[in-house]
Amino acid sequence: MTTYPKETIKLLIDGNLPWDQTKGIVSDHKDEDRFDKYVEVLQEQVSWKDKILLRLSDDLFIVEKGNDRLVKCRCGHEYGDYRENWKLNALIHVRETKKELDELYPYPSQPDPKMCEVREFCCPGCGTQLEVETVPFGYPLVFDFLPDLDTFYREWLGKPLKTSKEFKDLTYDVVKKWAEK
């Protein structure tokens, strides 16, 4: 079985592994214990103690907190149930002016803010830019990834989680209340 030391995985995920070694990892058989080491390294890199169940993005994690599974930023800011789109609880800025778009696109080709929203989402806790959406004007917030955590842990890893949650997008329950008010 292919396996790598935890230190190698750490260097790899931080983008610090020399290319010749990275290339070797790309070309070789995949290491079966990658996920365990990945989570171990990530857990060591955060200041809080909640158990990481899954890394969702560069700075967001799904963590276990009691019987809940929450989305949590590297800085510790919590976003709520992982089945709700975490963006609902982020800060948003939409680039709408020519000056703001020129900054990103200093050429004749640019998104048209009347047709395309350039939405920037940042963490209220640390100000990290967590995602950028470029979508048709008025498109609902994009729920990038809703993982089927129970299937993953139970059937793919063979390590069922202590509780189970329905694999269901709960975003609509939240926005329904917003629309009613």
Partner: protein, 738 residues
Amino acid sequence: METIAKKQEGICWKGRKLKDLLGESERLYEETGCYYGLEKLKLHEDDPLKLELLFSRLLAATVAGREATRMISGSPLVREVAELATALYTAEGDCVLQSTGIIIHIPLMGQVIKYMISQNYEEVEGINEGDIFTSNDNAIAGMHPPDVYDICPIFWQGKLIAWAATVIMEAELGAISPGCMPSAATERFVDGLRFSAEKTGVNDEFLPSVIRRIRFSTRLPDLFILDRKGALGANVKVREEIKEVAQEFGVEYFLEGAREIIEMERRAQLNRVRTRTVPGKLHSPVAFENYMTRTFVPPHHAIDQVTLVPMDFFIKPDGKYFLDLDGAGPWGWHPSNTTPSSMTGAMCLALTQTIAYTGSANHGTILCADMNLPYDTYVNPSSPNIATQNLFSFPINGGSVWIGLQSRAFFSRGFVEECMVGSPGTALYSMAGKDHMGNDFGFLMTDVAGTHGSGAFAIRDGFSSYAIWQPVTDMGNCEIWELILPLIWTGRNLLPDGCGWGKYRSGFAIVGNWMIYKTPLLVFDCTPVVMADKIYPNTGTHGGYPAVGPFYKLVTNANTDELIKEMKPLAHGMGYPGKGDIEENIKGKFALETSRGVTMKDVSKHGDWIQLSYGSQGGGFGDPIKRDVKLIKRDLDNRLITIDACRKIHCAEANYDRTRDEWIIDDKKTEQLRKEKIRARLKKGIPVKEWYKNRRKDILQKNMPDLIKTMYNGSLEKGKRWPGEFRAFWGLPENFTF
């Protein structure tokens, strides 16, 4: 009685008929979930090395065939850009393996074979050793008409045991406007020269009538004919190798081995998914902009249309992929719809570049991906008469976004080295008029293939000058292109500040510069490929942005002769810090275009200029202010980014040291700039709840351009599940439309 018995005997091994073999294969898969019902892999279990040897021999045959073709063809698309591939199929039309090259066609050439089986070619047209069947009819199968398939049966001891097939992309097809992907094609009747799974040759020679038809139907017939001969050469090479294999391993072993190779790949693909990803649901919308009022089409087709295709991508518990395009908007009379066949090609392309890249991708890979392509929509038009020049639109726009979605699953699982953000870029142009020899000509300029930047990776920057759908290509040599085109290459360089910003940036796209040479007449068409202009593809991930799109500049009535006489500078491209010398050095009438699928109105001649930034729109990865200053310095030193972008986007300060000719990062100031940026974000950002209420008001009051309203209405009308989700998200009445 003997004659009747002979008539009933099929052409396949042991006298089986093609239809029976195909029917049996489909039934066995249905019953067992295994390809051809192979629940046990007997050959593999008995002697895995022998089966591996068979695989290697077959793979080597297809690669050798492809390379032989490059030596025969006269087209720069084949010789320089390598727009071709050769594959081996079972008698039933299932791909066993294929060469490197344009891998998108793995299942599609097999679909043509299956069409021939369904139409009973075995008895009606006849299938004999030495026959050649040619197809580029996308009502049957394919990505677009320029990809011409030549398919040859392989016989052993008088019986059909397999097929060899080669795809070559043609640069000229005799369509409504010159080139091979005209923006003006709105119906299949103007798609150009077409072969509908037609028998075009016997005894390893193309029929004189076919050669004659090519000569009278295309603007560059010699290239087209040479390509056919090249494809035939590849197929014959594969065929002869298969005969040797049948002799050496035994034909029964070959037949059974080919099936086991497919089943092994099917199992391997499911295993790859289960061991490298995380199951769940991923989502992104994709929009397509077709501006048909800006090309030359019949009045009833001159409609501008923006179409939405919401994309749900499921990674299922069993390791299968499922792409659900419910909510896809209506198809239209333009060249950029998509068909189920091309969607299969798209899936194949994306899989082979991202997860099934072991060199053994085949029919088994495709069996692991299902799709919902709603009928009578952009991704499955109900009319058989649609133009098919750009069935690539979803595969490139949508496929690229899909790659970013799959990367999220790799990322969550820990396989960060496999994550690549999408890059749907590419801008091509077709030209027509007189060449530099005085001949009428038309051509699709494809040195672009492989020249836009890739999306970023999760652990490093994206590739500059790269195209995912043609991973083994390069731009080709300018000198070779100049032999056949009335153009002089005056510069190829990377577009400074043109990347998708992020902690890791996307690759940079190329800017090409050409002086129009020794022609009295040349016109340009901005080829429809990626139909994104005003609505950028959603490719930035984890905090990164999509990169800049393409732009075309044409200068007519240019003062070039005067400049040359006075030995003054000409146009060579985007210089650092991103200032184009074309405006600075050339005087004339300037035209600018950023859309694809439209026509440049001005007619040019010798001494005029064209400049094209190919654009990448590839996504950046991660927060741009988290970019390592060492990487920022490298980009500054390489003149890929300006100090302006360095400060505004990365919030890093640097000073240029003239004596050392390098940039020195000011760490202290950088730290300060980044802290300020975070404060600014927290101040500028509003809670999403507040944004939601404002935007909901816009939706209820329908405050948006008509094109967008029509776009949503199309999806609300066509979709089954998605309209409910859209209305639920915005809290809209059940029957809400724009």
